[in-house]
Symmetry: none
């Protein structure tokens, strides 16, 4: 998933790499340039680009995913998320792909992923570059990540969407839980008005750490709605 | 080593990827465009490009190498050489790098490596793409190969893996959460009297599945108490 990409050539080049390795589902969040579908750097990637989906927010774009990962070039400054080098991240992702969809977020060429983007991520991955030269080309980063994910088998790549009984909760359900919880905390006075936006991000990060299963998420949402209903009715 | 590259942007992009992964020695064989040293796609790769060496033939360019490998997109049609997928090739190359220099040849964007180029190669490597879309971007191929070669290097990933302090929540806190949640659900009518005992067990199992960290557990408990206080006060 490409977030706020500036250069349409990079979209085309990333699409080509994804197509090379069978990661056929490209989501774009508010690209600056809408003409990306004809990107000249996308030799052979026309079918993938034709099927690419555009979204106005990361939240919408990850709605059907049960695992969301941010790709970052930063070292160990970002302490709010666990950070894995790509080879370890690849193992974790391949396991998860058996039970649901996984999104990997790549930020803009200039600024990477924002704190708000990161608040949608379960954890982060880093491609292990030299410390002296960390800034990678966007499409090359995508190429290396999809190459790593394609390691060890054809069934490893996205597309195999057979849900297990212990399938992870999808992001849409988590967002509903987040909303309900935030409203309940609001009504009960836990959240002060001035820190509301901040609270939303913090809650989302916490919910992601819970690593909810789909069934548990539904139960939790039901509970919160009932509590909310009671809070409102009194 | 890039052989007869046509697009100087590709030289710059390949140089950037090499620099990212510490492969600092770029050899160019008769590039079409001599202006590559200022390639705009080469963010951060200026030192590497400044040191790049130009040669008139593959033979000269591989002179000081003890192993020469050709990168190819072809399948198993090329029978004159052994062909290894990149992960196997990477292992063989890393072993050899301890005792001498290794060259990896990348052909031109249009035609790849010629039979004459291949005649200098000990064996070939292939990046395992989908059979339906084998044509890769040149610089992306270089990026993936140098990434693979940097695998398992001790200094490749300095201090990158910083796990969060992730002490698990203790059972006492979990029990308090359980109690608060059960009371809230009771007050809001979620739990029917007759199934109360059953509900407590289910809640506890669910909370254990959340695998809460100590810090998150405290936050959650604080939220629930606030909600509970509000439920009772109305």
């Amino acid at each position: 998933m490409l977030v706020r990409t500036r250069n349409p050539l990079n979209i085309g080049a990333a699409a080509r790499a994804m197509s090379n390795f069978g990661a056929l589902d490209l989501h774009l969040v508010t690209p600056y340039e809408k003409a990306f579908r004809e990107a000249v750097s996308a030799v052979g990637a026309a079918p993938l680009l034709a099927n690419a989906k555009e979204f106005n927010s990361v939240e919408e774009a990850v709605g059907d995913c049960s695992l969301v990962i941010g790709a970052t070039a930063i070292g160990n400054r970002e302490l709010q998320h666990e950070l894995y080098p790509l080879d370890e991240a690849g193992k974790k992702i391949r396991k998860k792909l058996a039970g649901g969809r996984v999104a990997i977020l790549f930020g803009s060429e200039k600024t990477g992923l924002s704190n708000r983007d990161l608040s949608h991520c379960h954890w982060l991955l880093r491609i292990p570059t030299r410390a002296e030269h960390r800034s990678m080309n966007l499409a090359q980063s995508v190429a290396i990540v999809v190459y790593e994910l394609s390691r060890g088998g054809s069934d490893a790549m996205p597309g195999a969407k057979n849900k297990l009984s212990s399938a992870a909760a999808d992001m849409e359900t988590l967002n509903r839980i987040n909303e309900a919880l935030r409203e309940a905390l609001d009504l009960s006075g836990y959240i002060h008005r001035r820190s509301a936006a901040n609270a939303e991000e913090k809650l989302r990060r916490m919910l992601l750490r819970f690593d909810l299963r789909a069934a548990d998420a539904e139960v939790l949402l039901g509970m919160l709605r009932k509590i909310l209903w009671k809070l409102k009715s009194d």
